[in-house]
């Protein structure tokens, strides 16, 4: 293999690493440095084959509790988001969303018309905490019935 071919071979082999590495670095930067917005969300269609379990969420920008940049119209903001959740909690979170008794919101970063969720909150608390309470409550109700 002559030098020119060797360099081309190295470039094509490294291309996926360079592209994915730069992408990851850009995501890490925007994730850690972007301004945080608190936005109310609601759910729809909770499953996708490739990505495993996640919640499909819709931003409710016109809710009074949602924060958004003053200079932007609602049409310039992202409409939907996905929030990946562990397999073992996906079904319960989906049920909570469908019941509509709890308020779901997200902490998110905006860049252009894209949004990146930092965390999911249920009734203002981290989702893990609210989910544990919901599960406990359901278990108590089940015991009472029996």
């Amino acid at each position: 293999m002559n030098n020119r071919r060797k360099i081309i071979a190295l470039i094509v082999l490294l291309l996926p690493f360079v592209v994915l590495g730069l992408w990851t670095a850009q995501l890490v930067y925007s994730f850690s440095s972007g301004k945080n917005y608190h936005v109310i969300v609601e759910g729809y269609d909770p499953r996708d084959l490739l990505h495993g379990k996640y919640l499909n969420l819709r931003y409710v920008w016109n809710d009074a509790r949602s924060e958004r940049p003053a200079e932007k119209q609602i049409g310039d903001l992202p409409i939907r988001a996905k929030f990946y959740v562990p397999e073992r909690v996906a079904y319960d979170l989906e049920t909570m969303l469908r019941e509509g008794k709890n308020i779901f919101s997200v902490e998110m970063v905006l860049y252009g018309k894209m949004g990146q969720i930092r965390s999911l909150l249920i009734d203002g608390k981290p989702w893990q905490e609210s989910l544990d309470a919901w599960r406990q409550n359901r278990q108590d109700q089940s015991h009472e019935r029996h």
């Binding site: 094509v12 082999l13 994915l20 994730f31 992202p78 988001a81 929030f83």
Partner: protein
């Protein structure tokens, strides 16, 4: 039949000598001596990898995101390093192909992992698009085996037209424009694939990839022409535009193919395949500029196309393809008669009739040939 017995038959038939038989058996014995060791070795490695994967999967939620990403990047880097180490080693070709295949797949899972960790809201096709384009140079450069190149060529044939089609029709509501955009891609794809497969650089350096592309070009051409016949079943004509448009769509690949046909670069078999793609282009476009609201036309279109394909395959020396053409025509005739007559009884009469017509045609052709030979002799 065992190799030893088969060789003995050949010795008895005086096709090979006794010492050739013994040499072949000795060679095969040495070649297969380590097969069981390799087999058990690979099963052992697979078992270890499966065990590691299961341990990781069961603790997936407990692993920090940085570690997941770092681990995945490291695994991919190790695989890339192996591909690099074995790049010029012909003895390691099967290993390199296997590692390259795993690296290819793991690049997609890495994209999915990045999406999961950073809570990205992109669509699946966007992840596949990124994966396909950043890994394509790597696969085209390093893959040399039949299977991996065929897999990439299939993905290229399916994915690229799909992506182009959906990029074109995005935001276009007009059904006719969408249909004709699909037709344009469908008729341009086979010549594109076939000519890519005949490029000197592929012939010399990546023959397996060239072969896969040429084969796929022919398969897509056959599929396009065949499925275009389904247009005759259409209930409405809302997808129709001026007949000039499908003619213009078909004309471009036809001109290219006719020009290419004149090139001395291609042998008889390759010229037959150019003719086949040319004919498939015409058959793909015909229902769009000469539409008749009569489903019987679909059968005529199908049979005419596959009979013509049969002749071209015969001319190119592709005997297996000739058999497939004949089987398809027979099957379509059967379906056609069921469609036409609506009952087994009436279809039976239809078959007898067509059988008599075919025998009559063969008889007439033989007589015409004989008559022409006699006239020529006189």
């Amino acid at each position: 039949m065992s190799l030893s017995r088969k060789l003995q038959y050949w010795v008895d038939a005086r096709l090979i000598a006794q010492d050739q038989r013994e040499n072949i058996i000795a060679y095969e014995k040495i070649r297969n001596a380590n097969r069981w060791k390799h087999g058990f070795g690979y099963i052992g490695i697979l078992s270890i990898l499966l065990g590691i994967a299961l341990i990781i999967a069961s603790n997936w939620q407990a692993i920090p995101a940085d570690l997941k990403l770092g681990g995945h990047f490291t695994v991919n880097a190790v695989l890339a390093w192996l591909v690099w180490q074995w790049r010029d080693n012909p003895d390691r070709l099967p290993h390199r192909e296997g590692v390259l295949f795993v690296l290819w797949g793991l690049t997609l899972t890495l994209i999915a992992l990045i999406g999961q960790i950073f809570q990205l809201s992109g669509e699946t096709y966007e992840a596949v698009r990124l994966w396909f384009w950043i890994t394509t140079p790597m696969i085209v450069w390093f893959a040399q085996g039949r299977y991996l190149t065929a897999l990439w060529a299939i993905l290229f044939t399916v994915y690229v037209p799909y992506d182009i089609f959906f990029s074109i029709i995005e935001g276009i509501e007009n059904e006719a424009v969408r249909v004709h955009a699909g037709l344009a891609i469908a008729v341009l794809l086979p010549p594109l694939l076939w000519f890519m497969g005949t490029q000197k650089v592929l012939r010399d350096h990546r023959p397996a990839l060239g072969q896969s592309l040429r084969t796929l070009g022919i398969i897509v051409a056959l599929g396009t022409a065949t499925f275009a016949g389904a247009v005759y079943y259409a209930d409405n004509t809302g997808w129709m535009l001026s007949p000039i448009i499908p003619i213009a769509i078909g004309a471009f690949p036809c001109i290219i193919l006719l020009l290419a046909r004149k090139s001395r670069e291609f042998d008889t078999g390759q010229r037959s395949m150019i003719d086949l793609i040319l004919m498939a282009t015409l058959f793909a476009c015909v229902p769009f500029f000469a539409f008749v609201p009569f489903s019987f036309m679909a059968m005529i279109h199908f049979i005419a196309f596959w009979l013509a394909a049969c002749v071209l395959f015969q001319r190119g020396g592709f005997d297996r393809a000739v058999g497939i053409c004949i089987a398809l025509v027979t099957l379509r005739l059967f379906i056609g008669f069921l469609e036409l007559f609506g009952s087994m009884m009436m279809s039976g009469f239809g078959f007898i009739l067509i059988g008599l017509v075919l025998i009559g045609l063969v008889y007439a052709a033989r007589h015409v040939k004989k008559w022409m030979q006699e006239r020529g002799a006189a």
